[in-house]
């Protein structure tokens, strides 16, 4: 039989696939299959659980930090505080006087 043409290749390939199907029948699992499966399921559940706990802890910590920062910004501090309570115009005037006091004197 000549196996070189495409049609023969096709039928030979089909025969090989059929033989492969027969050579690899459905197989049953070992007795260890179910215990090992449940061990993996529980392991995955544990890791998901711990990841969830870490995520919750992280969110809680971030919320607490945000609240702390907000409280710190909201509570007024002394005049030398980095967060001033004076108005914008007052702050601008003070800033101008600090930046160019000599210029103001020369012009006069």
């Amino acid at each position: 039989m000549n196996w070189t043409n495409r049609g023969d290749h096709n039928s030979a390939l089909d025969a090989l696939f059929r033989a492969y199907r027969d050579a690899c029948p459905d197989r049953d699992a070992s007795p260890n299959f179910m215990p090992e499966l449940w061990r993996r399921i529980e392991e995955r559940q544990r890791s998901v659980f711990f990841l969830g706990r870490w995520a919750r802890a992280l969110v809680t910590a971030a919320a607490v930090l945000s609240l702390g920062m907000a409280a710190y910004l909201y509570i007024p501090h002394g005049p030398n505080s980095m967060f001033s309570v004076e108005s914008y115009v007052e702050a601008l005037a003070a800033g101008h006087a600090q930046e160019a006091p000599d210029l103001a004197v020369d012009e006069l």
Partner: protein, 199 residues
Amino acid sequence: MLVDFEVIKRAQAGNAPAFNEIVLAYRKRTLGTIARLISRPEDVEDVGQEVFLRLYFSLDQLRTAEVFEPWLYRLTVNAAYDYLRKHRRRMESRMSDLSEQQVMLADAMAGGRVDHEDRQKKQISESVDAMLSAVSEADRILLTLKEVEGLSLKELEKIYRVNENALKVRLFRARQRVLKAFGESGNEPQAKGAAKAQV
């Protein structure tokens, strides 16, 4: 369906015996499919467990009974695909480590320990594995499902979620690539022997 949808519903609710029932019903078939998809008997159970693990954690997404089997096939295909991709490099190096003569010698030595039929099955399995290793994992899986598992185009449509025409094109191209590898690998005598053995 090998199990009632009621069982699946109970498993969705977290009932462990119901999930066990599903695994027991589909285990044999799933392991057989995996064995034919990956051609590595020693890793079949590991991949099978991965399939059922994925099933366990995605069971709550299932809405209707009729999609369960295609869905399980899909999980099987994805797990086999991941395995094949992960192990392709290892398989290639292993194949290149052994020359053809070494393989034949190993087969001849093994011949004393296993009977003729087992040896022939092993040879067929190795030939198909070597031939399918020459094409992509996607081609390998698609062709195995169609030609070896005997799934219909309708069933493949549900698994791959693409229309019949697109599947036909993909199948045709995959088959052409395998035919090319088949011609180059010199598997014809093997196939001829297999065909004769079947007759």
